[in-house]
Symmetry: C2
Subunit: 154 residues, 2 copies
């Protein structure tokens, strides 16, 4: 079997960098939203926290697998594995885009409403959390595209 190597797809150092970025951005989005903030009063914020709670373990798992493949022993590219990875990336990137957009729009509405709805420090945190979620979405959609490409050439 021919050994396929596509930079950015599963098991390469570019993929490792993408997973690292996803882990960092999704964790910071979750932390900014959760720490000392009553996020559970808005559905969209709860949704963001839930989605980030799914993205973080997924990214960390694939970060570990990629690191193993890059630094210790090169793992062979299996069709079944790539299917699982690209499906997971597809679903999680859609969910994180949805969460980021909902959070951003609610934060924007609260900021416009002003006053007691949204003290300025809190609003900035909501926006920052949404921005981190957008970055996490961007990196996971890049991962998805590379893995989908790899899958279609297998």
């Amino acid at each position: 079997m021919e050994e396929l190597e596509l930079s950015g797809a599963f098991g390469t150092s570019a993929s490792l960098a993408l997973r690292l970025g996803q882990t960092v951005f999704s964790s910071s989005s979750l932390l900014i939203m959760c720490l000392d903030v009553g996020f559970y009063s808005y559905t969209a914020f709860c949704y963001l926290v839930t989605v980030m709670g799914l993205v973080i373990p997924w990214s960390i798992t694939l970060l570990v697998v990629d690191a193993y493949s890059v630094f210790i022993r090169h793992l062979p590219v299996q069709r079944r594995l790539i299917i699982i990875i690209f499906f997971g990336d597809m679903i999680l990137s859609c969910l994180s885009l949805a969460a980021a957009c909902s959070t951003a729009s609610i934060a924007d509405l609260l900021r416009e409403a002003g006053g007691s709805h949204c003290p300025s420090k809190l609003c900035e945190r909501y926006q920052m959390s949404a921005a981190m979620a957008f970055l996490s979405w961007f990196l996971s959609s890049v991962s998805f595209l590379f893995n989908f490409w790899l899958f279609s050439t297998l």
Copy 2:
């Protein structure tokens, strides 16, 4: 050159059906949001209207091209054309998911706030518009996946 035919990708009858669905859902989302509704008081609703204003001409153009290819004369699959189509589908599906999520979250917030913010009939229309935008997003992401697959095998 080998003639590729991938059901759902550019120039097939499945693609024609997908484009028809996109046109119908995006138009109805726009109409439900615009007719008799002061949508310009919320950023998210303006964004939905803008995005649907981009999705509708794109869907109609590709609907016409697909119809031509299916009913009149089969168009050859060109790599450059498929790049344009899959890029367009990718960007528009991201934008329409973002618009649908923002609209849905704002509609939900307004419904919870209740009272003068959102008379029940108006809120239902916002939600219906968001639902149509979600359907339009789903169909355009399916188109994107098929065209990306076709592109990667060219």
